[in-house]
Every structure is written in C-alpha cells, then in structure tokens.
Symmetry: C2
Amino acid sequence: MSPISRQPNKQDTHADFSYTEQALHTLKHAGLRITKPRKVVIDLLDNSPVPLSAYEIKEKIDSLGEKIDTVSVYRIIETLEKHHLIHRLLSSSKVQKCRLSPESSCDKHQSDHCHHLLVCSECHTVSEVHCPGANDLVQAVQQAAHFQITSHAIEFYGVCGSCSG
Amino acid sequence: MSPISRQPNKQDTHADFSYTEQALHTLKHAGLRITKPRKVVIDLLDNSPVPLSAYEIKEKIDSLGEKIDTVSVYRIIETLEKHHLIHRLLSSSKVQKCRLSPESSCDKHQSDHCHHLLVCSECHTVSEVHCPGANDLVQAVQQAAHFQITSHAIEFYGVCGSCSG
DNA sequence: TTCACTGCAAACCTTTTGCAATTCT
DNA sequence: AGAATTGCAAAAGGTTTGCAGTGAA
C-alpha cells in the first residue's frame, strides 16, 4: 500500500505530488528525520534533468552557498536509494530521482523495484520504463545457461523523443 | 618466457586459438604494436577467472615482478576494449576477457558485439550469453517509449552452475 | 630511424571508516 | 534529553592529462 493516495488510473507516475513532497513524505513515514542537508539534496535531484555523481551534488550545493560534506552526500544517497527514491546508473554510477512509482516493478516476485533506464546520448537525460518481456528474457537466459538469476539490470542507450523530434 | 603460467581455456568459442593468440593477432592485424606491457596484460586477463580493475591488474603484474604503470594499464584496457577483446562490467567497471567470438552478437544489425553477462554472486566469475529474445525486448521498449535505441547493456545476477550444484 | 607506445608526475574524483559535534523530534 | 544525523579527518583506490623518453617495426 502506498503511503500516498493515488487516482486509480494514475499508476505510473507520482503526478499527484511533486518529487520533493513524495520523497520527504517517504522518509518521514520511515521514521527518518527531515534534515536540511537531506532537503537540499532532494531538491537538487528534483530539479536536475541529468543524473549526478555524489561529487557533482556536493559541488552544486556548495556553489549555491549551502555547503555540504561529500560523506554526507554519500550517506543521503544511500538512504534515498534504500527507499527507492533514486536510481543509480550502472554505466556511470550517477544517481537520478526515480520518476516511476515503486509499485510499477517489472517483476512482481522480487521486492526490488525494477525499472529500466533509457539514456539519451544527446541530452544525457535518463527516463525509465517498465520492461515488458523482461521476465521472458530472464527465463530464456536461465534455461540457456546453467544459471539461477536473482536480479538483473538493463540500460538502453539511444536518442530520446525530444532530441530526435 | 611469460612469468604467468598459461592455461588455455578449452571452453573457448575461439577454440582453435588461445585467447592470448587471438588477442595478439587482432592487435597486429589492426596495425598496432605487440609490446611487452600489452602481452603481460593480455596474458593476465587470459588466466583470470574473475574480472579485474585497472588497479588490480597493475598490482598483480607488479607482484609478479614485472612492473607496469597504472596509466599504461588504463590505455591498454582502452585498446583491448576498442577491439572487442574484453568486456567491461557495468556494475563494477572491472574488465574480463571476452570469451565469445565477435560474430556472435545478439543483434546482427549493430556492429556492437553485444554479449550479456551473468555475474555469480558466490564466486564472482562472469560468463557470457547470447541474448535470445533481447531484440524483442528492445523493440517492445522502443515502441512503449518514444526512444530510438541504438545499443543496450544487460547484466544478470545470480548463482552459477558450479556454485549451486 | 620513426613514431607508436610506455613511464612519470601531478591533479582530481570516488568511496569508505571512525569519531566528535550537531540537530531533529 | 536522547537518538539520529552530519561534519571532519584520513586513507586508499580510481581516472585523466601532458610530456619526455623508450623501443617495436
């Protein structure tokens, strides 16, 4: 059950609430404290169209005159990731706010929230998709190789609608 | 003689030639020079069952009394990757020799040699598979999102046959 | 001999740990 | 006040650049 009530037909996005509101609510609901550094990081991620590294987050916040320690950024990122509020790109280990709701995992059998990433080579923005057929792929690979698959990561690279249109 | 004992892997798809032979041939064919550092790195990768980071490669070679600069390792890795002789793991950015032939790409339409990785959580060895159905997945995602996919990366995590049996 | 390649220097980014100080509730 | 969280110190690994010297062809 989601901590936030949703319209029945808006299953895929957090459209009812801003990302910042959603994130703060999720943290509070988990018994975590709403601190200034956390708010600043969440706000920055909410407004960044591209994924950021821990160091880049620190730099951006510093340049805004806010000052934050790199270690704190790492720990905040860790917390946000644990609560499925951000994605980590495999190809760069940068992070970005998660735009799909936790319930929209491709695999209902795994607790992992499993969204797959579309990385645009032009503008470097990253969007998320469900992975229709990903379970079939997992099954096929599992059969072909003697390998028991517990999780998987998929990233697609190409050109997004805005950049190609 | 090489300081590293050679154990040609007969499970290779490059069955006629050892990985080392194949790699050296590929480099020579591309007009590149066969240098001592390159031979040592290739030999090390040929005999490593697990992926290695650039730093780990440097450490291993040094411990064999050969000495190599970290920067050289990076550049050699870059060269090998360009010629499809190694894979880079997304999840750790370590590299491993490529065991499947370049022709066995999952997607005949892309020049990319596209193999998908099976990472064992137990022994950390990485094997490669063709991706039956991956093209279907790419098509499905491309349709669902407004996104023109040019390449993709897939990693599966789980337990390999040796570790589960 | 030539120039592709390596080694060296140097700088910066990445990540983790322990402990003291701070601050949210 | 008490507990969660941040800042600081420090260390080690990871990555990149330019330049000078070496060595493969």
